[in-house]
Symmetry: C2
């Protein structure tokens, strides 16, 4: 059985939950509360699995793995179920690039540790932090909208089935909504988001449906 | 012929140059100067290839691709030459996770657009920006040192041959040195860096050896 260490609100844990659900792979959930006990992710026991002290982490037997995109590609390559990356190399590369816009250039900038630094060292208040997050989310999602413009109007980012791209998009839109990002200029992303949310694999992975959810 | 749009100092362009060299794949270099003409990456012509207005971009025929990790995996999957990712799924996942520590959780935080925002909106001076960069580089590289602790003392991160992990590590160490990061507690990373620099594929990809280099 796979053990999965996550936190309900973490975008990268949310991505992995969607991937588990799409693949039909079950897992034992291990809660790592980022704001309790001074941050449970900083405990020596958790750090021995994830030296970055970030969620998520996957563990099965002696094998443990960090970084959500690596986890999702590992699930795709080793577990049964529908493929989360296209077979054709050019399209697979486009899917990865789309996912990396979000996973490299948007999400890490709004990570808890980064916001804590901005508060402590630059005196950023709530409004300044929200503006910071909105800036990077808007930049990234606008680029994502453009990246899809050559792919017509399929239900999902890159065709008839959800891929790693949709898996990254949906948690980022959840976060965009939290920070009040205006998605008005992104009709394609909004339509894809709606198509994804209609699938139980996505809707059941929502932070609100997790055992560790707190409002 | 592949066209490659980059900038000498960009970590992500540097990664791609190493990958091209390791694969033995040649390319036409197209300079995108991030500080000239108000940022050449912001021109409409370049944005039509890369809507994020970031380097690098790869183009061949009608196909164009952004995001360095996607570019490197595409090169590995479609071009001849030695493999940059291991064949075995568990090890391949570990290599990707290591690369993503750098490409997701370190490098985007020290990107030019982020430092510009910190200057403009938070009044950060040079010392504050350097401290910001050192914090994220130190955190990330310390985690990388620990991630390798279960892999003995092979010349490269994950064995006898360089992989995507080494490709991400070397440009990040270049950047660490620029910002005065203390690598004293990272003997494994320093040894790997030295082994990589002894290979022409790495040394010839150094920013100083590029046609657009400026001191």
């Amino acid at each position: 059985m796979i053990q999965f260490y996550g936190y309900f609100r973490s975008s990268s844990a949310y991505r992995c939950r969607i991937a588990f659900n799409l693949k039909g792979v079950s897992y034992e959930f291990r809660s790592v509360h980022l704001r309790k006990d001074g941050g449970q992710q900083k405990s020596p026991a958790y750090r021995s699995l994830n030296p970055q002290a970030l969620v998520p982490t996957l563990k099965t037997g002696a094998f443990h793995l960090t970084q959500s995109l690596a986890i999702i590609e590992w699930l795709d390559e080793t577990q049964p179920g529908p493929k989360l990356l296209p077979h054709e190399a050019d399209l697979r590369a486009k899917v990865r690039a789309f996912a990396q816009v979000i996973a490299c250039d948007v999400h890490p900038l709004q990570n808890l540790r980064v916001l804590d630094y901005l508060k402590a060292d630059f005196g950023a208040d709530r409004a300044a932090l929200d503006a910071w997050c909105r800036r990077w989310i808007t930049d990234g999602l606008s680029a994502c909208e453009t990246l899809l413009s050559e792919y017509g109007s399929s239900p999902f980012c890159f065709g008839e089935h959800p891929t790693l791209a949709d898996i990254c998009l949906v948690p980022q839109i959840f976060s965009a909504q939290r920070f009040g990002v205006d998605l008005g200029a992104m009709p394609r992303l909004r339509a894809i988001h709606q198509a994804c949310e209609a699938l139980p694999a996505f809707s059941e992975a929502h932070p609100k449906r997790q055992p560790d959810w707190e409002s």
